[in-house]
């Protein structure tokens, strides 16, 4: 029989004003097993804790119940107090008399009655509590960053600075991500490359950072502190250790029809290419779909001209396996396909472009060397109309229900840059709202209106058509209450962004949860915004939700801090309140593994004695205690009742229910 002590907190007047704490302390003495009870003004205070510690010693308590605020608030405090006097911390239960009783009731009599029930319930649980010990698992002191955009770059730099090795796995031939494609950046209008490329170089030069470009994560095993990751290094057909980035191959390559994805397909590139001049690594790659040698066996020009002897047409994909303590996902985004919105005529008119295409058309390193020429006839557009929210805030099924967050700001940026560089250009912007929260952001947008005379029209565009080479943009001006038609030379769609689709595979491999829009879920939207619910997995940048560069970098640095906090530990304490299968009852049906959101359950074949000197081999579930979060989904799913949760066993829950129902 347990020797139970019950401690009732007044919480100043928070509980005591509504619950008769003194009477409660008397009444509860009648409960079987209760050998001590007390009430006190602030149980969590130094004196309150001392009261608990003394009672544990004086009355040889084996279990205690605290009637106080929510366990979220002070369970850890009380467990620590118990532990300090030799009581197993898991022999402490908290009955929530504040949030679940005094704060929500007015009638003192009724509230006191309910408080008594809540205490009895906790006592019922303590009776069946067993001491639990947290296990330990070692930590591999290396981090993996998936995605080498600005989010991945920043996270890697910060982790490396703290002295831990980091690998960046980037699917493209170069790191840099979308930011490398941008011209100038709001809110300060500094050139994107000028602030990004030094960071890329830092990554390349940092001894702690290993960049695995043109690579993808194939498989992930393990758990926090101990991930085992298999990485595919796609065949580049160019030896990374030999290529000097001289670009002779690009000059000589006869296959020049490949679409230049870095320039949003606005021009062509050779089959062997370096995506842009500041690429890291500055190493060529051969596009096998365009290379004549690889397609037809005839050519080999690049090999002939390559002074470094770096070309190798026989190269195959290779695999590396590495271990990591923590993983940062930073897979970023892409603009959505706007073909479904035929009202804007994107697929029919070359001069209807997306904002990312405009970035390339304005970039000095872009297809037009930074001169703004419209794609159809390479002339200067004189009237440019922007349409905001294209595909965002749209539940018709063609677009995305969310606000893409960055487009109001970058549209103001585009409008301003154009008016600055080409003052004779007329610029119109159709908008639903102008959303510019952020430091110096609204001021930035107002500058577009007040200083640069950009014409903002409140309303959406319903139709764009081509009339003798002019793009007729028809929309509503809701403030003037009229329909307007603006004959334009160029139409720019501020296109919604969506997570890079390969994130789905990454999420599956990591058992990281993902929302209906494919954005990775954070553990808590307010209080744990950079952690995935899967332990050891962290989220940086647009893969978690739309955000601009300042926000991305903040999140990446926050991720790094979390990773560093994990990697400095030699061992991790594991939560002992985890699922445990009863192997004799388990029939290996896999239902538990299917519901486990954390991938904690695996199966092994085990031999069991079945009497008569015989054995049989059965497939049974195994729970990895380092990965299990103790959510209990498996316990309620198991059809044979083989799964139970330490600290929250089925027997305990039922005895609690019984205590509640008791008259």
């Amino acid at each position: 029989m347990q020797r139970i002590g019950v401690f009732i907190c007044w919480c100043g007047s928070n509980i005591a004003a509504t619950v008769d704490v003194e009477r409660l302390a008397q009444l509860i003495k009648a409960e079987p097993g209760v050998v001590f009870s007390a009430d006190y003004q602030y149980m969590c205070s130094e004196n309150g804790q001392q009261l608990i510690k003394n009672a544990v010693k004086d009355y040889n308590l084996t279990g205690i119940v605290i009637g106080s605020c929510s366990p979220r608030m002070h369970e850890a405090t009380f467990r620590k107090a118990a532990e300090s006097v030799g009581l197993n911390p898991y022999m402490v239960e908290v009955a929530n008399l504040r949030e679940q009783c005094s704060w929500i009731h007015k009638d003192r009599e009724e509230a006191t009655k309910k408080a008594l029930v809540l205490l009895r319930t906790a006592i019922a649980k303590v009776r069946l509590d067993a001491p639990l010990t947290a296990g330990e698992s070692p930590v591999v002191k290396r981090a993996l960053v998936i995605g080498g955009g600005i989010a991945g770059i920043q996270a890697a730099l910060d982790i490396a600075e703290a002295g831990f090795p980091v690998d960046i796995v980037e699917k493209n031939p170069t790191i840099g991500g979308r930011m490398a494609q941008l011209d100038k950046t709001f809110p300060t209008l500094d050139c994107s490359a000028c602030i990004l490329t030094p960071k890329m170089v830092d990554c390349a030069q940092n001894e702690n950072i290993d960049i695995l470009s043109y690579s993808e994560v194939e498989d992930v095993k393990g758990f926090v502190g101990n991930f085992k990751v298999r990485i595919r290094r796609k065949a580049r057909y160019v030896d990374e250790t030999k290529c000097t980035g001289c670009k002779v191959c690009m000059e000589k390559c006869p296959s020049k029809k490949g679409l230049n994805e870095f320039n949003m397909n606005l021009n062509n590139r050779t089959a062997i290419y370096i995506p842009f001049a500041q690429a890291i690594p500055n190493v060529a790659v051969i596009d096998p779909t365009q290379c004549l040698k690889l397609k037809t066996g005839k050519c080999g020009v690049c090999q002939k001209f390559c002074g470094a002897g770096a070309i190798d047409y026989t190269m195959q994909d290779t695999f590396v396996e590495r271990e990591y303590g923590a993983i940062v996902v930073a897979t970023g985004f892409r603009p959505i396909n706007v073909d479904a919105f035929n009202e804007y005529g994107y697929s029919d008119n070359k001069d209807v472009i997306t904002s990312l295409e405009l970035e390339r058309l304005m970039n000095a390193a872009g297809p037009t060397n930074g001169v703004l020429l419209r794609p159809s006839d390479n002339t200067h557009p004189k009237v440019i109309t922007f349409i905001q929210c294209v595909g965002s805030r749209d539940v018709s099924g063609c677009g995305k229900p969310y606000c893409s967050k960055i487009c109001c700001m970058y549209t103001a940026k585009h409008a301003m840059l154009i008016r600055e560089k080409y003052p004779d250009t007329e610029v119109h912007v159709f908008y639903i709202d102008v959303r510019t929260p952020g430091k110096n952001y609204d001021e930035f947008y107002r500058r577009a209106v007040e200083q640069y005379g950009v014409d903002y029209i409140k309303g959406m565009v319903g139709k764009v058509w081509n009339e003798n080479g002019k793009l007729m943009v028809q929309g509503a001006d809701l403030i003037e209450n009229e329909q307007v038609v603006i004959p334009s030379d160029l139409v720019v769609l501020a296109t919604a962004i969506e997570p890079e689709p390969s994130v789905r595979k990454i999420a599956t491999l990591l058992t990281a949860s993902i929302d209906t829009n494919n954005f990775l879920n954070e553990s808590h939207p307010k209080l744990r915004p950079v952690e995935s619910p899967t332990a050891g997995v962290y989220l940086a940048g647009v893969c978690q939700g739309p955000k601009d560069i300042p926000e991305t970098v903040s999140q990446a640095s926050a991720c790094a801090a979390k990773v560093i906090g994990l990697l400095v530990k030699n061992h991790l304490k594991t939560n002992p309140c985890v699922a445990r299968p009863d192997e004799t009852a388990c029939n290996g049906c896999s239902q538990c593994a299917n519901v486990c959101a954390y991938g904690a359950i695996t199966y092994v074949d085990k031999e069991f004695r079945i009497g008569g000197g015989k054995t049989e081999t059965r497939r049974v579930a195994q729970v990895n205690p380092a990965v299990c979060q103790g959510c209990g989904a498996c316990t309620v799913t198991c059809p044979s009742g083989a799964m139970d949760l330490s600290g929250f066993s089925t027997a305990q829950i039922l005895s609690e229910v019984e205590a509640i129902c008791r008259k």
Partner: protein
């Protein structure tokens, strides 16, 4: 004077920076004469930006504005819608060739039946 010049004149007389307007509607939200107006205070600013000068000149609202300056007081961006209304009114009056009254003409026509508000608004208008 063509349309553009008229617009420029109205802007000059108004003495306000219309591009600062963010179309929030607070001026119209405050205006005591709003219901009587065919063109609302915020629209005076918007029309001037868009160059809809004729509409402004045809407006009935300029005769309903009380020159109470409440709109100016309330505008969060420091725009003076009343300044625009006043400028339109002045422009219309000038176009009609009735350039107002001389100072000497005033005392004889001020009597106890003249609404005080009219005098207050006249002082506000003419002491700039």
């Amino acid at each position: 004077m063509d349309k553009r010049e008229t617009g420029e004149q109205i802007l000059r007389i108004s003495g306000t920076e219309i591009r600062k307007c963010m179309k929030c509607g607070k001026c119209s939200g405050r205006c005591p004469a709003y219901r009587e107006m065919d063109i609302k205070p915020h629209q005076f600013v918007g029309y001037l930006i868009k160059g809809k000068t004729e509409k402004l000149l045809e407006s009935e609202a300029i005769w309903h504005c009380l020159s109470c300056m409440a709109c100016v007081e309330r505008c969060p961006r420091g725009v003076a819608p009343q300044g625009v209304i006043e400028a339109v009114r002045t422009t219309v009056t000038r176009m009609q060739g009735k350039n107002g009254i001389s100072a000497e003409d005033i005392p004889p026509i001020v009597d106890e039946l003249i609404p005080q508000q009219l005098l207050v608004s006249a002082y506000r208008k003419y002491n700039k």
